[in-house]
Amino acid sequence: MPVTVYAVFYSSEVHDDMPSDIDLFLSGSEGKFEFIYANKLTALVSLQKEKNPVYSQQEVLAYASIVEKISKRYAILPMRYGSVVDSLEDVIALLQKNSESFYAVLDSVKNKEEYSLRLLFSQRHQHDTLNMESTEIIKVPPAILQGNTETKNYLLKKYQEHIVEENRHQYIEKIQSHVTQEIRKITEIFELKKRVTPALILDAVLLIERSAKDEILALASRIQSRYPEHNVILTGPWPPYNFTQIKIE
């Protein structure tokens, strides 16, 4: 019977309370849940009727909400949606084979929670300021592009776009390095994600002590007041989804 795995954590945490209340604290969630033990580890799993997970938003959110509930209780490693193995024996084998790597990662996220800190261009600012600054700079185009021919005008247009982009780049890098410095004051465990949209100035995930929630809140509002023209968004606390790099064998 296929088994969905939600999270892995130290068994010692479970022993402190009664595992029998598993259905109680996951109440409202559909499915038959079980704790699977192997070495010092426990996995929260549920039995599935079918192997292929259904990719509906509802299913995914239900999965995430179970991971969330368990993470409130224990220090866990969250699994990605679609973590389905063939049998309960496979879960045990998985835990046994990879126990050392699981220990290492679990230790690194102990008592810590994940937060997302993002800084976005406000659309208004994006169009006005940067473009204007750039036009100032290219009022005098490079000598080689002067002369009113079709090709030169084309190149000049491209060149202007290039300058706008370069300026934008520098502008973003400056903010990024400043915010990075600020983040370092709170934690050394963070990651800047690759910018995937033009409006994204910074997309960071941080891992901080559970007790340091106030510090991250203060950081967000500090950054917002430093860059009032942009939008700061802080979300969390999350299970350590972004800090679970582990090689499964």
Partner: protein
């Protein structure tokens, strides 16, 4: 107004949740299967090894 705010917060939260649970977290099963006409052909493995689904099935059979 309160309701609007609630909805917006919920939407942002859902987006963030989906991003995490679909692309982050510990991976124990295959990442990407490229299929042609609903027949799985290319499997993009955990360590970004490109192998055919057939080889994967065979390998699986051996390890089990």
């Amino acid at each position: 107004m309160q309701d609007d705010l609630y909805d917006i917060n919920k939407e942002i939260t859902i987006l963030d949740v989906l991003d995490r649970v679909l692309t982050k977290g510990v991976v124990i099963t295959g990442d990407i299967v490229i299929s042609v006409a609903d027949i799985d052909l290319v499997y993009l493995g955990l360590r970004v090894l490109l192998s055919s689904v057939e080889t994967m099935e065979k390998r699986k059979a051996i390890t089990l």
